[in-house]
Amino acid sequence: MPAILEARDLVKRYPVGSSSVEALRGVSLTVEQGEFVAIMGTSGSGKSTMLHLLGGLDRPTSGEVVIDGVEISRLDDESATLTRRAKTGFVFQFFNLIPLLNVAENVALPFLIAGGSQAEHRARVDELLELVGLSGKAGNRPDQLSAGEQQRVALARALATGPAILMADEPTGNLDYTTGTEILDLLWDSCDRLGQTIVLVTHAAHAAAYADRVLVVQDGAILDEIKLGRRRDHEARPLIARLAALGL
């Protein structure tokens, strides 16, 4: 499969007073089209920093990120934004829906940002709402939805433009286990059925177990790569055993 995302020797340093802290130390990775990759690590390991760089939300101190053939790390803010708009989708821990827009409007937001109208993309919005199981709630306001439903809307929004890659940063971190599992099922389903490439950042083994491949991050570097393969059962025990072997 062709690589949809490539990172080469990513370094990220943050200035702290007169010195600096190295959050990422020369990370390189490749994600293939249609692949589900999890980035796992403890708090402060650098996994979120890595996701921000891979998604073009931040720029590396050195190294490069190529998304679907575009070297986003070299682009200015305007061009990086347009690339992000076209090629990536994001789901975060806090669903961050716009409270004053209804469900359909929230899902259509990426189209609106791109200058389109909701009417032009009604069919796509309906399709996405059906995908996430919220067909009957298009007119609801976010505060009328449960936490799990809100995250489903956020997922539909991230998938709206058919991004080359979907970045999910702890998407179940604010949900109970059952609801979180429903979201992970949806993510896996979109990958398996629709061929959506997904990069998932998580600290939870049961979430990472949905991935085809798990990158274990520690101290700003990839400590290990665990290949789980595409599995329907999402059984976490093999992964936990491997992590235990790594001393995590």
């Binding site: 934004t81 347009l82 990426p110 940002i113 702890e170």
Partner: protein, 849 residues
């Protein structure tokens, strides 16, 4: 560190918000103190002007008859026991010209004839330079120093009195009067000269001496009543006795409009400042709910929390009020200089009264503290549990805050009433209070109805600006109370601009309608002196291009009812000319029948204000006479909207020229209405008119010029208040900065999400500016409704003479106000927009484990 220090640190931690709030309060207090000082300057100027005009005189005996007092009457007044000094003043409007030269110019002046020695004893005439009049130099004159400077005259320069008899020498300027006393009359277009010289100069040519209008009397102590009784018993000619207090009251009434507007704008500034403080501190409380909860959890009592926020309010009050008073003094200097230059309102120099400064400080401080009270109380009610909750507690609803805001504004109004003298003139208190009530009440109503308004007004923005417009509109519904207060603060200043413009336009429309209706043909000439109609007619009719020339005679008159007579003014017109030219607007009585009745004789047309006040209608009769003469019974043939201007406020009673001649003996006219031929170039006609006027010591007039003059002086005064209203808009703009900056800070994560989904920096900025623009548009549109309501109330409540043309809607200004609202708010949105654009995605999208 002590607990109270948290208050100061809280202010220091948000320097922009604190600074903007202090500036907002300072601007409000500045407007308040500037209007206080200016109002005081006007009050002092009135007192001073009355004293300067009267000097040492205790009584002014004013002739009621147009012919003034005879020399015999003046002597009789001098000889009344108890009179220490008597100064007679003759008065006439005249035209002077420069001595023959290439630069030949003419000026219309008020000519005052005085007896130099009596006058010097009666009034201390302040001279900028030169000498007072000297009987030994009969043709020496005094003119206003400012007028002289403006026209390039100085001591020793000579001028020619136009229309004087042959052989009278040119007058020579011997002294320049300060802008006070006689020097301030007729807006400084005044010349004081020896009375005998003035009488001699015109006696032969005008066939009537320059009349002595009044005689000022200095009376021995405690003899005023005796003197007045002696005058009543001894003087045979009609007269009126006035005192300094009468003059003060008259001058004061003339300034009532200014006092009322000054009061209104102080209230506007105070209210907007109060809105700003309430909103800003409310934001701070909302933002610090968790922190306050932690303090409460650590054992801080609610009273201590209240103290922290009241300290913050107090600090803003002190800083804002001090800065505001300083700025207010500077603003007052500008206002007073402006008013002096326009002569729209009588003002002295900048008065310094510690009391006024203290009052401004006190009012500013009290209103700011009162505005800070509700947020402080809200802060004191924060529960320790609030610190533990993940999301901020919802703020108070607008419904909860409205009564408090209404009470705050009402309180400010009461305090303002205590500070301002509002007992000037008819209806000024009720009118101003009603205007202020509508302005503030309407603004609170807009705040309450903000959401539906924003939904409608924001729709075009959403359609035009796409996602930015949609989100900008949606953001307005996020913190409704905060947005409502922000829109309210902006609305109030904009509404004041609308109200002022509509009132100004209405007054202008009335002036236009008035002048056009009373000057048939649209042009006229006012001669230097009244002249026999039959004698002058050939000359006026021979004016090049004149199609029609009709004389208008004018005279003081009385209306007699039983044993009493009241002052009136009579004008004789040619009914046929007025009818054919479409002059006069009838509000009662049929036009054709009324003119026919005038032609038939024994009929009169009554101005509407008089008819409305006295319940007069066509068919009623009036007994009208000249002072001292037998009255004539006249039947009212119609009521006209406007009549010729007169010394009485209602306007003139109109009779036919034939009746004026036969029943009242009036055969001389100063004013002629002249209509041009359609095929003659208007410039040639105007030149000919001008030449005839000059030859007869008079001036040409046109309806447009007269209307323009009437409108311009009002326009200048309105322009001044427009500046104050714009300051209130500026304060409202500061509120927009605060509100949006707070909104952006609260929405940092949401903005980061939008950025992550591909919203560019420019789009983020556009979203915030659009949000601001919608606030401005709502404020502007609401201001149109409120402002027009205020103007309509003003127009409706005012006398029929002031706004007889009804409410004129200044459409261009209305559009400009909406654009101004959008512009000010959008400009205010730039800083928050830039802050929003700097929102870090990575900082705000981090997850918690």
């Amino acid at each position: 560190m002590r607990l109270g220090d948290i208050a100061w640190r809280g202010l220091a931690a948000r320097p922009l918000r604190t600074a903007l709030t202090v500036i907002g309060v300072a601007l409000g207090v500045a407007v308040l103190s500037a209007t206080l000082i200016t109002s005081q300057a006007a009050t002092e100027a009135v007192r001073r002007a009355a004293q300067e005009l009267y000097g040492d005189a205790d009584l002014r005996v004013r002739a009621f008859d147009a012919d003034g007092f005879t020399p015999r009457s003046i002597t009789a007044l001098r000889q009344v026991p108890g009179v220490l000094n008597a100064a007679a003043v003759s008065e006439k409007r005249g035209v002077v010209s420069t001595t023959p030269s290439e630069d030949d110019r003419t000026f219309s002046l008020l000519l005052l004839g005085v007896d130099a020695e009596d006058e010097a004893r009666m009034r201390p005439h302040e001279l900028a330079t030169g000498e007072f009049l000297d009987p030994a130099l009969p043709h020496g004159v005094l003119v206003n120093a400012g007028w002289a400077r403006q026209n390039g005259f100085g001591i020793g320069d000579e001028l020619i009195l136009l229309g004087h008899r042959q052989g009278v020498p040119n007058v020579r300027i011997v002294g320049l009067l300060e802008d006070a006393g006689f020097g301030a009359l007729a807006s400084g277009s005044v010349m004081v000269l020896n009375r005998d010289f003035l009488a001699e100069a015109f006696e032969a040519s005008a066939e009537t001496p320059v009349p002595v209008r009044y005689v000022d009397l200095q009376v021995a102590a405690d003899r005023t009543d005796d003197v007045q009784a002696a005058i009543d018993a001894g003087l045979t000619e009609p007269f009126v006795v006035e005192t300094v207090a009468d003059a003060e009251a008259q001058l004061d009434r003339a300034q009532a409009g200014f006092a009322g507007l000054a009061f209104l704008f102080s209230m506007v500034a105070l209210a907007v400042g109060a809105f700003l403080v309430a909103n800003t501190l409310g934001m701070t409380v909302a933002e610090r709910t968790r922190e306050i909860g932690l303090l409460r959890a650590a054992g801080t009592t609610s009273r201590q929390v209240l103290g922290i926020f009241l300290r913050q309010g107090g600090a803003i009050a002190v800083l804002g009020s001090l800065a505001g008073v300083l700025a207010g003094v500077a603003l007052a200097v500008l206002l007073i200089a402006f008013l002096r230059s326009t002569r729209a309102v009588l003002v002295t120099g900048v008065p310094f009264h510690p009391g006024a400064v203290a009052l401004a400080l006190l009012l500013g401080g009290l209103v700011t503290l009162a505005a800070a009270a509700l947020p402080a109380i809200a802060a004191s009610r924060v529960s320790p549990l609030d610190a533990l909750r993940p999301s901020r507690q919802p703020g108070r609803t607008l419904r909860e805050r409205l009564p408090w805001l209404a009470a705050l504004v009402g309180g400010a109004l009461l305090v303002g009433m205590a500070a301002y003298p509002l007992d000037r003139g008819r209806g000024s208190l009720a009118g101003v209070l009603l205007g202020a009530g509508i302005l503030l009440g309407g603004t609170l109503l807009v705040a309450a109805l903000l959401q539906p308004l924003a939904a409608v007004v924001g729709r075009p923005f959403a359609l035009f600006f796409g996602a930015e417009g949609l989100l900008g509109r949606a953001n307005l519904g996020r913190d409704r109370v905060r947005t409502a207060l922000t829109v309210g603060a902006l609305t109030i200043g904009l509404a004041a601009v609308v109200a002022l413009s509509a009132v100004s336009a209405s007054a202008r429309a009335t002036a236009d309608r008035w002048v056009e209706s009373i000057l048939p043909g649209g042009h006229g000439v006012r001669l230097g002196v009244a002249a026999d109609i039959a004698f002058m007619r050939p000359e006026i009719e021979s004016i090049t291009g004149a199609r029609l020339a009709t004389a208008i005679v004018e005279s003081p008159a009385v209306i007699v009812e039983g044993d009493t007579a009241r002052e009136a003014w009579l004008a004789g017109i040619d009914p046929t000319a007025f009818q054919d030219e479409g002059a006069l607007i009838f509000v009662e009585g049929r036009r054709a029948a009324a003119f026919e009745a005038l032609r038939g004789g024994g009929a009169v047309l009554v101005p509407e204000p008089m008819a409305a006040r006295e319940g007069l209608a066509p068919g009623d009769t009036l007994r009208v006479g000249l002072p001292g003469a037998e009255p004539v019974e006249l039947e009212i043939a119609g009521v006209v909207a406007y009549s010729l201007p007169s010394r009485v406020t209602d306007g003139a009673l109109l009779v036919s020229l034939a009746d004026a001649r036969d029943a009242f003996g009036l055969t001389e006219a100063e004013l002629w209405a002249v209509a041009p031929q359609p095929d003659v170039p208007i410039s040639a006609f105007r030149d000919a008119l001008e030449e005839t006027a000059r030859r007869n010591g008079g001036q040409s007039v046109t309806a447009a010029e007269l209307a323009d003059q009437l409108g311009r002086s009002l326009g200048r005064l309105i322009g001044l208040f427009d500046v104050l209203a714009l300051l209130a808009v500026l304060i409202g703009g500061l509120g927009v900065v605060n509100t949006l900056a707070m909104g952006v800070a609260e929405r940092a994560r949401e903005i980061a999400i939008l950025r992550s989904h591909g919203m560019t920096v420019r789009q983020v900025q556009a979203m915030v500016v659009t949000e601001a623009a919608i606030i401005g548009a709502v404020g502007g549109l609401a201001a149109i409704g409120i402002g027009l309501l205020v103007a309509w109330t003003t127009v409706t409540l005012s006398g029929p003479r002031e706004f007889a043309a009804g409410l004129a809607v200044p459409w261009v200004v209305l559009a400009a106000v909406v654009l101004l609202g959008i512009g000010v708010a959008s400009a205010a949105g730039i800083y928050p927009a830039r802050a929003a654009a700097r929102t870090s995605m990575t900082d705000n999208l981090r997850h918690f484990e």
